[in-house]
């Protein structure tokens, strides 16, 4: 019964996907980006981390189709003489890794807290949700900026940059868990009093089992919907932190730190160092948001009508 229902749902998902041009285009671009991020070392013409291959004399060469451009650097070079295309590919890889890592962490913390809060109820629920409310009222970006600033002052810039990737995952993960906790709690409250949960309780299963293998699977579709938007948010937060100099260092740039590095050179006319990474970031976030919108419409027919 369960699998059959799932199948129908899946085919409906597929059906509406085929009919929606925006979704198809977005998904294709997203897949392309993810592919590029995953295989960056193979696709990139140069290795931007290999210091020996970088020549500072190559710095600020414009894109190949412009005057002064060279064919070996298709999109030109950045301030350190690295091939911009290769650096962007590696940067996308880092941004995607941080975005997805942070979302996994958020989802893990948020689902655990949301489940506990919704299922146990009472005082546990009141305390946990108060904490979530308070943290949400502070704007996730603000929390992320302040936490990363404190960590950077505590560790010093040098140490911070060495462990920047896991740190950013933890910082963004901690900043945004309340979103998940609230969503999961809301659907747990909806599921908790249904007959199948009661049946499970009557046959004597323990609450851990009921929570994780009975209720949890039924709360996952809203989790899926917010996950897409959360990935976009996490990538955007990471870019903002890096832009402020609180994220990835220029020696191992993410998209945000590339934009930051290029920004100082925009006044001298080297617009491409900022422009191409910026376009990459915008398109990446836009397609995720469009897919998220589509997914929300499909999985939540109540909203679809409105």
């Amino acid at each position: 019964m369960q699998t059959k229902r799932q199948k129908i749902k899946d085919s409906y998902l597929l059906y509406s996907f085929r009919r929606d041009k925006v979704a198809i285009v977005s998904a294709t671009i997203l897949a392309l980006f993810l592919f590029a991020a995953l295989f960056a070392p193979m696709l990139a013409p140069y290795d931007p981390y290999d210091v020996t291959s970088i020549d500072i004399m190559d710095a600020e060469i414009p894109p190949s189709w412009m005057e002064g451009g060279e064919s070996r650097f298709f999109l030109g070079t950045d301030i350190m003489g690295r091939d911009l295309l290769s650096t962007m590919l590696y940067g996308l890889r880092i941004s995607v890794a941080i975005g997805i890592g942070a979302v996994f962490l958020q989802a893990f913390i948020g689902i655990a807290i949301g489940l506990a809060s919704g299922y146990l109820g009472g005082r546990v629920d009141a305390v946990l949700m108060r904490i979530a409310d308070v943290q949400l009222s502070f704007s996730t970006l603000m929390v992320a900026i302040i936490v990363s600033a404190i960590v950077q002052v505590a560790f010093g810039v040098g140490r911070y940059e060495q462990i920047a990737v896991p740190l950013l995952i933890v910082i963004i993960g901690i900043a945004e868990w309340p979103q998940y906790a609230r969503t999961v709690r809301a659907s747990v409250l909806g599921e908790k009093n249904k007959e199948y949960v009661e049946a499970a309780r009557v046959i004597g299963l323990d609450s851990k089992r009921i929570m994780f293998s009975h209720i949890l699977p039924n709360t996952l579709s809203p989790v899926l919907v917010i996950s897409t938007v959360q990935v976009a948010n996490a990538v955007m937060s990471e870019a903002a932190l890096s832009f402020l100099g609180l994220g990835m260092p220029v020696s191992m740039p993410s998209i945000g730190s590339l934009i930051n590095a290029g920004f100082e050179y925009i006044f001298s006319g080297a617009w491409w160092i900022t422009f191409f990474p910026a376009m990459l970031l915008i398109v990446f976030i836009l397609v995720i948001n469009l897919l998220g919108d589509w997914l929300r419409d499909v999985l939540n027919p109540k909203l679809y009508k409105g």
């Binding site: 603000m142 832009f243 402020l244 934009i259 925009i266 910026a278 915008i282």
Partner: protein, 323 residues
């Protein structure tokens, strides 16, 4: 209702104590006031004596208690870079940020209300579709990129508007204001557009969604049946009821705007609190960092508490629930 207000204020106080606790632990772990005060030539014994005198050998909670009681009296520590009390530094930077936030919120308000209403009333028209399409693109563009594009187009290429700083300011009762000089206003244009760009799409969508919902309700149908003019139904009957959620969300978003001022101020070298905060991070000015944390924390808490209470006053269902 009274119990509700009291409860909200108690909660706000607890949150402030927690923020103070975080701020104090950061200060306790990172800053060494003795090292900040004395040079290298001071002996170990003298340092010890100074530590004792400053109360740094007391227990953690004694020191925390002192931190809180000082903070309540407005003493948030001393910035060793500016050689001034940290709160004074922040207050001297606050007008710049407040003016930026004020002008941006005005922009958001004046643009989002008519656009949101229009696209709710005529959802099929070209302009409405355009507004919706642009708003999803707008949500996807980080605020610092909007800022960079604005600088590149209007400052670097066209030379129409200045790209950084506040320009001329006038001192009005101790408030350094850029709102009353032409130069100051010209400097405000790009930063405030950049800052409002992040919230504008959200508000247009929110107002549109609320308005569309209200237009479907029974009492609007009744208003049509009464034969009221279109203007009266839309602007008096319907719009009034879309305002409630907009006010709540608006209050919370006002707090979030403050987070985005850090980004905007960095791009435009705007001498406000956010710019100061990042400089403090670079200089490891712990006292200033902690003071900023406490001040911004207080700002968020006050805004949220006021919004909650106002909402409670306006919306009767909240009052019933809290009894």
């Amino acid at each position: 209702m009274f119990a509700f207000i009291v409860r909200r204020i108690i909660q706000a106080t607890v949150v402030m104590l927690v923020i103070g606790f975080i701020g104090f632990s950061v200060k306790h772990q990172l800053g060494d006031p003795v090292r900040d005060l004395v040079g290298i030539s001071v002996s170990v014994e003298e340092r010890e004596a100074l530590r004792e005198q400053l109360g740094l050998n007391d227990s953690f909670f004694e020191q925390y208690g002192r931190f809180v009681s000082n903070a309540v009296r407005g003493d948030l520590g001393y910035s060793y870079f500016f050689k001034k009390p940290a709160l004074d530094v922040i207050l001297s930077k606050a007008p710049a940020t407040i003016e930026l936030v004020f002008v941006s919120s005005m922009l958001i308000l004046l643009l989002s209300v008519p656009m949101g209403l229009y696209s709710a009333i005529y959802p099929k028209r070209f302009f409405s579709r355009l507004a919706m399409g642009v708003s999803i693109v707008g949500v996807s563009i980080p605020v610092f990129l909007t800022a960079i594009v604005l600088i590149y187009v209007f400052a670097v290429q066209l030379h129409w508007l200045p790209s950084y700083g506040r320009g001329d300011t006038v001192n009005i009762l101790g408030w350094e204001s850029g709102l009353f000089t032409i130069d100051g206003l010209r400097h405000l244009v790009l930063p405030s557009i950049a800052l409002s760009s992040i919230m504008l799409p959200l508000f247009i969508r929110l107002i549109r969604a609320e308005m569309m919902e209200v237009l479907e309700t029974e009492y609007i149908k009744y208003a049509w049946a009464k034969g009221l003019t279109r203007k009266r139904v839309w602007l008096v009957h319907a719009f009034k009821n879309t305002l409630l959620p907009v006010i709540t969300v608006g209050g919370v978003q006002l707090g979030i705007l403050i987070a985005f001022t850090i980004l905007t101020e960095t791009v435009f070298q705007w001498q406000g609190m956010g710019f100061m905060f990042l400089e403090a991070v670079e200089r490891s000015d712990t006292a200033l960092l902690v003071a900023y944390l406490v001040v911004v924390g207080a700002l968020f808490v006050v805004v949220n508490t006021v919004v909650d209470i106002v909402y409670g006053l306006v919306n009767p269902t909240v009052t019933i629930a809290s009894r």
